[in-house]
């Protein structure tokens, strides 16, 4: 059969690389084919999610930042200073986390979706016009965020003025100083040329951009045992590929950015500088629990248990 798979990015970006790996595996190991629909062709992130829920699409990618309105608990992946920074811990976490394979699997299933994988797209960096080293430096700075209440809360706690803005206006708004900053993973800052309209790119280590890969539940359950295995293996092969692909991706993007704009300044906040941001993150955690209640608490507990085992492995 011809399976339709919509993603939130272009084919040469991380989600596109994952989807292409998945497609190649499926097509090499079965008579099925996969049609990938890149960003924008079938609507915004919310639209393709609904289409996957209805089974018009067989597969879909959505980063939890957009899933908040449907599954509020998914915003746990937006919380600052929760996910680890070390590559081995990150990789171990995404391969083995029970919070993904058990807790979230159930939450997504309630939405008619079979959660296949979650994968990282790299650490989130903040682009600004002036460097910052403390929440006080961010005072009055307008930072563009997605319209997730948790992200708004995060940047408020960080001392900035969170400004929700549609993606299409971000580039222009940075140029005209309507906003002074925005956050995105490194590869996206590079491919979206956001460095052209920013002076400083800061790694505060506060988050890793995460994406969920899902199949329509009815479609998945209607597959033969062999095909289900095929899909599982395909999604795992692609995950392994993307974890490898991740290593050095940020460095590669940084090098490309530096080559394109030598005047750009990279800042990595020191552990001491991060302390007040970590402290501010506590408020965000309280907000998360307030928004998601008991279920959110369970998710958070399991996530932390998973992170603990990632640390010790």
């Amino acid at each position: 059969a011809n399976w339709k798979y919509a993603i939130e990015e272009n084919l040469n970006e991380v989600q596109g690389v994952y989807a292409t790996q998945f497609k190649e595996y499926i097509e090499a190991n079965s008579a099925h084919s996969v049609q990938i629909y890149p960003f924008g062709t079938l609507g915004e992130s919310d639209d393709i999610m609904e289409q996957a829920q209805a089974g018009i699409l067989q597969f879909v990618d959505q980063s939890p930042g957009f899933t908040g309105s449907l599954i509020p608990e998914a915003q746990v992946f937006l919380m600052p200073y929760v996910l680890p920074e070390s590559v081995s811990e990150v990789n171990y976490f995404f391969k083995n986390a029970k919070v993904i394979s058990e807790n979230f699997k159930v939450l997504y299933a309630e939405q008619d979706l079979e959660l296949l994988q979650m994968f990282p797209e790299g650490s989130v960096a903040i682009t600004t016009q002036e460097s910052f080293h403390s929440p006080a430096d961010l005072d009055g700075m307008k930072i563009r965020v997605m319209t997730s209440p948790l992200l708004v809360e995060t940047y408020k706690a960080f001392g900035a003025v969170p400004t929700p803005l549609p993606w299409g206006e971000v580039f222009g708004a940075l140029q005209t100083n309507l906003i002074q900053g925005q956050e995105n993973p490194w590869f996206y800052i590079e491919s979206g040329k956001l460095y052209e309209v920013s002076e400083v790119i800061t790694e505060a280590g506060h988050n890793i951009f995460t994406t969920a890969v899902m199949a329509n539940k009815n479609f998945y359950e209607g597959l033969s045992e062999t095909d289900q295995q095929l899909v599982q293996q395909g999604s795992e092969v692609a995950l392994d590929y993307i974890l490898k692909y991740q290593e050095g991706l940020a460095e590669e993007s940084k090098a490309k950015i530096k080559a394109a704009k030598p005047s750009i300044e990279f800042v990595t906040l020191t552990e001491a500088e991060r302390a007040p941001f970590r402290l501010a993150a506590k408020d965000v955690r309280a907000k998360f629990i307030e928004m998601t209640g008991e279920s959110g608490q369970t998710i958070l507990d399991q996530l932390e248990a998973d992170l603990e085992s990632a640390r010790t492995n």
Partner: protein, 430 residues
């Protein structure tokens, strides 16, 4: 017949028969859904896309600009601008005609639509042009062609819609439209002078200094609109939607407090007509979004590009193909509908070649302006027929020189993209 041919044939047939324009789009979309899903089972997603099509935040600039222009037109601002243009250039050879073109450009700096400009400027200045001996064919041609300038001078509804579906910065599009807009104004003005000399149209009396002073003073207030838009966006104070909202606030302050020309009852009437005009535009945007979803889902754009060999086109070839497609499209259909149908079809190729989407947007907007005034069909022509109640033949008789000038601008723009990009690069320091 395959799905693509049936969709396209149905759409064109219904358009030509005179169906309300949402219907050809919706009917073609329904056919597309039927073919894709072998029945109407998933057709509810057509509604998802209709709703998704009208809810992007950037599109809110459209009702706000319509509201601001509506307040201006129903109040005194629009006429004060026209008066000012008149006292300065009215008395030169062809001055009244040049004033008309300039007033269109100036009013276009507040209004985003051609039709509103035709109504606002045309209904005030056409009687004066007639009175002063310009023949009506020239007047009508001048008015509908000059109204196209409003499409290029920011704000522009066409650009807002293009920016929304192509993910292009609307601020950049706005700034880039100014150059070609002014070029159009210059060409039209030169022709107007030439026409006046050739036809020995009498000139107006020069306005006395006192009158000039008074009229200018009066027009200072409404001149704030273009400043809000250009410097607001250029200076990084406003996004396009915010600039539009500021224009609304400013227009209300002017008309209610300064000029005392509108009362609450008038404001309510304006709100209603703004709502109606917005709905007429947005139902098309909604239908267009559903249409473009179903053709994307069926991979029709790629198939069409391949059919015409455009999947291997170079930049120039693609730009020419885009120009022709939009030109022809706008002969028959409202510009918004054309943008909604054609942009998604060309987008994969525009992306493949990495074309500057701002330049593409300006070229498209210009073609829209050209197509809309080119006989035999042309949306502005029909608007003029309806509004001024003149026979079709009289409206189109004088159009040829204007169409030629517009075609010249189009060719120049493809040859020298800097006409559009110069200001953009300056404003955004590229």
């Amino acid at each position: 017949m395959d799905m693509t041919s049936i969709m396209m044939t149905t759409m064109i047939a219904l358009l030509l028969l005179g169906f309300p324009m949402m219907i050809p789009l919706l009917a073609a979309t329904l056919i597309g859904f039927y073919y894709q899903f072998m029945g109407f089972d998933n057709s509810q997603f057509m509604i998802q896309q209709m709703l998704a099509g009208i809810t992007p935040a950037s599109l809110i600039a459209i009702p706000m600009f319509i509201l601001a222009a509506d307040i201006m037109t129903k109040g005194r601002s629009a006429n004060k601008l026209i008066d000012m243009v008149m006292v300065y250039i009215g008395h030169y050879k062809g001055g009244l005609a040049v004033s008309t073109a300039t007033a269109c450009a100036l009013f276009g700096a507040v209004s985003g639509s051609t039709q509103a400009t035709v109504v606002a400027v045309g209904s005030t200045l056409r009687p004066k042009l007639l009175e002063n001996g310009y023949n009506d064919s020239f007047n009508l041609s001048l008015i509908i062609s000059s109204s196209g300038i409003a499409l290029l001078i920011p704000p522009s509804i066409g650009m807002i819609i293009y920016g929304g579906i192509s993910q292009t910065s609307i601020s950049e599009l706005f700034i880039a439209g100014i150059g070609p807009g002014i070029l159009m104004l210059i060409l039209f003005s030169l022709y107007s002078v030439f026409f006046a000399i050739k036809n020995e149209v009498p000139t107006l009396k020069k306005a006395p200094f006192r009158e000039r002073f008074d009229v200018t003073k009066e027009a200072l207030w409404p001149l704030g609109f273009p400043c809000i838009i250009v410097f607001g966006i250029y200076g990084g104070i406003f996004s396009p939607t915010e600039a539009a909202s500021t224009c609304v606030l400013y227009a209300l302050i002017l008309e209610i407090i300064v000029f005392k020309s509108l009362d609450m009852k008038a404001v309510i009437g304006i709100a209603k007509s703004t709502g109606l005009i917005t709905a007429i535009v947005f139902i098309l945007v909604a239908a267009g979004a559903a249409f473009s979803w179903v053709i994307s889902f069926a991979m029709i754009p790629q198939a069409i590009m391949e059919n015409f060999g455009l999947n291997e086109a170079n930049e120039l070839q693609l730009l020419i193909a885009i120009s022709i497609a939009f030109f022809v499209g706008c002969m028959f259909v409202d510009s918004i509908v054309v943008i909604l149908i054609l942009v998604p079809i060309f987008m994969p190729e525009i992306d493949r070649l990495g074309l500057d989407k701002v330049l593409v947007g300006v070229i498209i907007t210009l073609q829209v302006a050209v197509g809309a005034v080119t006989p035999p069909f042309g949306c502005n022509i029909f608007t003029a027929v309806a509004i001024f109640k003149r026979p079709y033949i009289e409206v189109v008789r004088g159009l040829l020189p204007f169409v030629l000038m517009l075609a010249l601008v189009a060719v120049l723009l493809i040859q020298f993209p800097q006409i559009a990009l110069f200001l953009r690069d300056l404003a955004f320091a590229k």
